[in-house]
């Protein structure tokens, strides 16, 4: 397959047509500026902060490091595909309850990363939480309340 201008991406179960003026755009840029999925955040664009985390065929990845035009035919899940303000996941609710949100810029990426973590490891230890989330920088919280939010979800799911 060759792409020169137009392509389609499968995002949150929907086919989305993309028409870029330049094929060098990252998936992060396309999600945001071309498709209006602003929940994927643009903090570093070098794969160091995790704010743009999405799931690609079920694997956690930084969307800033994916060339959008090569992500055709894969299953992309963004934070918008997880829950909405009137229909939040237990993880999203726990972030709110435990005070894990301040400026919130890292939050969508962390929410995606925690969904991914708890799918593969439903009962992570403290150290496993730290290792799994080490790729998601947060500058406001010092991570304490985020860890508490993860721990609370794990407890609730095991009750």
């Amino acid at each position: 397959m060759e792409i020169e201008r137009r392509y389609e991406l499968l995002i949150n179960g929907k086919e989305c047509k993309v028409e870029s003026s330049w094929l060098g755009e990252s998936l992060m840029y396309v999600l945001r500026e071309r498709l209006g999925l602003w929940g994927t955040k643009n903090a570093c664009e070098q794969g160091e902060c995790g704010s743009c985390s999405v799931l690609i065929d079920g694997m956690l990845a930084c969307s800033c490091l994916e060339l959008a035009a090569t992500a055709v035919g894969v299953d992309i899940t963004t934070v918008e595909g997880l829950g909405a303000p009137d229909n939040m996941t237990d993880i999203q609710q726990s972030f709110i309850d435990e005070g894990a949100v301040q400026c919130g810029f890292c939050t969508p990426g962390l929410v995606v990363a925690v969904h991914d973590l708890l799918l593969s490891n439903p009962a992570p230890s403290g150290q496993e939480i730290k290792e799994a989330l080490a790729g998601n920088l947060c500058r406001c919280t010092g991570y304490g309340r985020i860890e508490a939010a993860v721990v609370k979800v794990v407890q609730q799911r095991h009750e």
Binding site: S21, R32, G36, L37, W38, G39, T40, K41, N42, A43, C44, E45, Q46, E48, C49, T78, V79, E80, L82, G83, A84, P85, M88, Q92, Q93, F95, I96, D97, E98, G99, V101, Q102, C103, G104, F105, C106, T107, P108, V111, S125, Q127, E128, I129, K130, E131, L133, A134, G135, N136, L137, C138, R139, C140, T141, G142, Y143, G144, R145, I146, E147
Partner: protein, 764 residues
Amino acid sequence: MSKWFSKGTNNVMPNANESISGIATSLQRPDAAEKVCGTFEYSSDLVANNMLWGGTLRSPHPSARIVEINVENARGIQGVATALTANDLPGKPNYGLLMSDQPVLADEFVRFEGEPVALVAAADPEICRRALAAIEISYELLEPLTDPERAEDSPAVFPGGNVIRRVPIERGDPEASGDVVVEGVYEVGMQDQAFLGPESGVAVPNEDGSIDLYVATQGLHQDHAQLAPCLGLPGEKVRIHLAGVGGAFGGREDFSVHAHACFLALNTRRPVKMSYLRDESFRGHLHRHPARMWYRHHARKSGKLVKVEARILLDGGAYASSSSAVAGNAARFACGPYRVPNVSVEAICVRTNNHPCGAMRGFGAVQACYGHESQMDKLAKKLGMDPLEIRFINALQTGDRLPTGQKVHVPAPVRECLEAAAAVPLPGESSDNVDGYGLPGGAGRTADRSRIRRGVGFAVGYKNLAYSEGYDDNARVRCCLKDGKLTITSAAAEIGQGFVTVARQIAHEVLGVEDIALHPANTSDIGSAGSSAASRQTYMSGKAIELACRQIAQRVCEACGENWKVNAKQLSLANGRVRSEDGRFDVKLAEACGDPIETEVFHSHRQTFGMDKATGQGDTDASWIFGAQRAVVDVDLDLGLIRVVQITTGQDVGRAINPLSVIGQIEGGISQGLGLAVMEEVLSQDGVVQNGSFTDYLVPTFADMPPVEVTLIEKPEDGAPFGAKGVGETPSLSSTPAIAAAIRAATGLELPRVPIRPEQIALA
């Protein structure tokens, strides 16, 4: 081109299913649901119809004369709307917070690497990048001044000389000396705020020649006062709206895209969006001042301080920003929260061709805290005393006089903060350890348990709450009660700290009203709230809301008294109802009075005064906040790698209006202090930044932060809103010196510089 049109500002409406609560409860953030779902709109998420993308060309040289700029090639690229230089500026060419010295675009000289030189607006960011690359500039390179020690004797970087401010404090007997004297020279590296949301915004020009700027900022009105003259527009033609802010920490006190986006928008008559990449962010905002500090402490054998001498040199970089106020803080807090009868301090902030520095959480007190706490440990060691004991002996108390001669009139729980930090049991050996992950070196698997030493260190610090030195500090708020619903209008910037939560809690506490909305913050609907800085917004705007709501409550009672013929003095408001003491009168707030009740409050804190130019004496501060930390660290002695194992802290908060938010502030502040202690530094070589990326400017990750045990010391301050002081800054003061002290305890090394690099330990 755009399929979406953003609102521009986030209406902070309460969640439908959430019940409100008053002070001392951990009410949830009204914006939290949007934030966890990714629907909260940040400044970089904005779009407008027919929008262009703006970009900045920045100088690659720290000092140069611009010989020629040619933007014609850029203008000729298809999709480019305009390319502009200083010659095209529509108004005042300079701006600045306290001194108007920073060019909107460099005209003749560039004075730091990253100084903006030209602008482009184009159809999309990629075309914009290509156009910026096509601009031709010829520079005549000049020798940069990069050593702040040489600044005073070097040719002026900017007209007026290289000393931005010299702040002396002289008190007591200059000849006084003690039984023991300890001396030290300390250094603090340049720290970056490293907020995650990039500098960004959209400027929207209007038919009538006015302009609306949607931007992430800490202070809408201080931006406005600087921006309108630069655009050559009268104030009423410039409106600034707070767009969603992705963290600030002082880094959004100064302009980022403000003037540039507006300038491009006015020129092209189209909306212009700008959003920095991370490398530009490192050049596009100001950093924390690096400091070199000389200290000499004199004490009696008992440990009592006799005199403190200090000289603090701050590198302000190329432009002044808030440097003069930072220097004032560094001088006033140089001695720490201790009783010091004799003081001889001088803080100097100089200009160089390094990156400009300005506000960052802790504002001058962070640097000083590392200095005075290092000295207190040195003194304790020399006297053979316990580090806690020497701090207890000298701890500041209410009623004591500060180095400025000002009397401490608020609670000053220095000893209590330290005791709280010390009271938590010490952690055991790091056991939660998967293949070395819990030990120094972490994922790198370098640790050898037999070569790990544990150290424990204490530190305590303080700083001023709100603005000082006679600065006109006030906040304006308007509250309107209509049909039982309250709308709060304030220009206070929500930057993540939780003002939007606290504002509602305070209003609910006073009025009992359930339904409270915050009007979007902007410069056109209300006067200034001052900046979300200096730990001041709860203290200032929070107080204004309290006062406004009390006025409304009184008017509700009066109206009820009149309408329902009851004794207004026996009425009170709670749970959305107005009731009399005897319960005979009990009416829904929405029904209690017909007309809307609106009130506007202009609140100023107690008057402060300038520092005497020769002696630094004066009642400079409105209030102070105190905090102490104990750090426990593990150090790999051979590799110099560090893992902070635990932080315990006692924090003077006055009153915790939202305890969970307060803990969040404290943990976050500590993580930034940890960063400064062991990893965060903007490194420059000959004025050129070497690590302007998140790959090489390292901020603490999840794996670097230890558990934090917080004890809130609640001693309400008279006149503060429900006794609440600010909590934004103290947590980041003393965590750096506490961690440094712990590393010293583990290694026996002096370690006079932060961030501490592995080689300072491993090669010592």
